[in-house]
Point group: none
DNA sequence: TCAAATCCCATTGACCCCCATCATTTCCCA
DNA sequence: TGGGAAATGATGGGGGTCAATGGGATTTGA
């Protein structure tokens, strides 16, 4: 359950696009056969995630004070603007016109893995941004502090695939 | 069981409106075939929820001091003004005139998902408010701290669909 | 008895199922 | 190791189905 890599697919005349096989494989345990998309806050892109990730967002919002302004805003922005998109028989989704317009997508869609989530871009917009972000990372000499293997959920570690996650 | 997305439907001359298929699907386990609506105390909107969620609200009110002003007010506001609205054969409800007037609804109704609950709006009123929400969220740099997967109800996690929820 | 609610059926257009084709990759074996 | 066959994923498109809608007919209840 990990989204990796960049996959460019075609948007057809009916507004359909194939979800990359690798991404569908990452989701094959989900009860809902499809993906969720919503408009990114910061980028001209679409945020993508699984049903269970969306459940997690809803559960987290539930915990904020029911009447807090911040929870309200997040609910409107994420839950209210999200689209639940089931696959067709061939593993495609229909990209709603609203989202195509927001992300300025034309005839191609880039699926970009971000671990637990992913993003959809117009490839022509994403490419220069990716270059820029690579350059910044190199200049900064950024390093990532890895979590110890023992803190990962079982099933994410080799040789633990069939065990129950007791965490 | 998750309400997501914004669905705009027509209010017909008989005061009927179709409940979005996705919302009905989220409720198909409920004993009561319909929805509950009550006036929002913050917004010019209607709060919507399932029968079991209404039970949950009633149970929460029970826990407040029975004679406190707050419990009184909440009971009047929510339980006193709530409407139990059954579907007709086509999955529509009749919007009571009182609620139409309160939410200043005209010929269209926006069903806006908020996770465990949803809201009904006049789309012309909701749209600019949602834009404002998005802007505030961006400015605030708001990030949502996600609950750990292990604290979610079973059934909301992949691979647990058939298990009993022991929580 | 009248008004409102419910039932029933018709229409329509978007979506989904199905199949056919094409492009890659994988596999197998010489 | 190269070539060819088979499997699989991506793409294109036709047509049937169903959700959303509109309105008439029947029932209910005050």
């Amino acid at each position: 359950m990990l989204f990796t890599g960049t996959h460019i697919h075609k948007l057809d005349r009916k507004g359909r696009v194939s979800v990359p096989k690798r991404f569908r494989a990452a989701l094959d345990q989900e009860e809902f056969a499809g993906i969720y998309l919503y408009q990114s806050h910061k980028e001209s892109a679409l945020e993508g995630c699984s049903h269970s990730h969306m459940e997690r967002i809803a559960a987290s919002l539930d915990e904020l004070d029911m009447f807090s302004d911040e929870a309200d805003d997040l609910a409107d922005t994420i839950l209210g603007s999200s689209h639940m998109l089931p696959y067709d028989g061939e593993g495609r989704i229909i990209l709603p016109a609203e989202l195509i317009e927001f992300a300025r997508i034309e005839d191609q869609v880039a699926f970009v893995g971000r671990g637990r989530t992913f993003r959809l871009w117009n490839p022509d917009i994403f490419k220069p941004l990716q270059e820029a972000s690579r350059t910044r990372t190199l200049n900064r000499g950024a390093t990532l502090k890895l979590k110890p293997m023992s803190e990962l959920p079982k099933g994410a570690r080799p040789g633990t695939a069939d065990e129950e996650d007791a965490s």
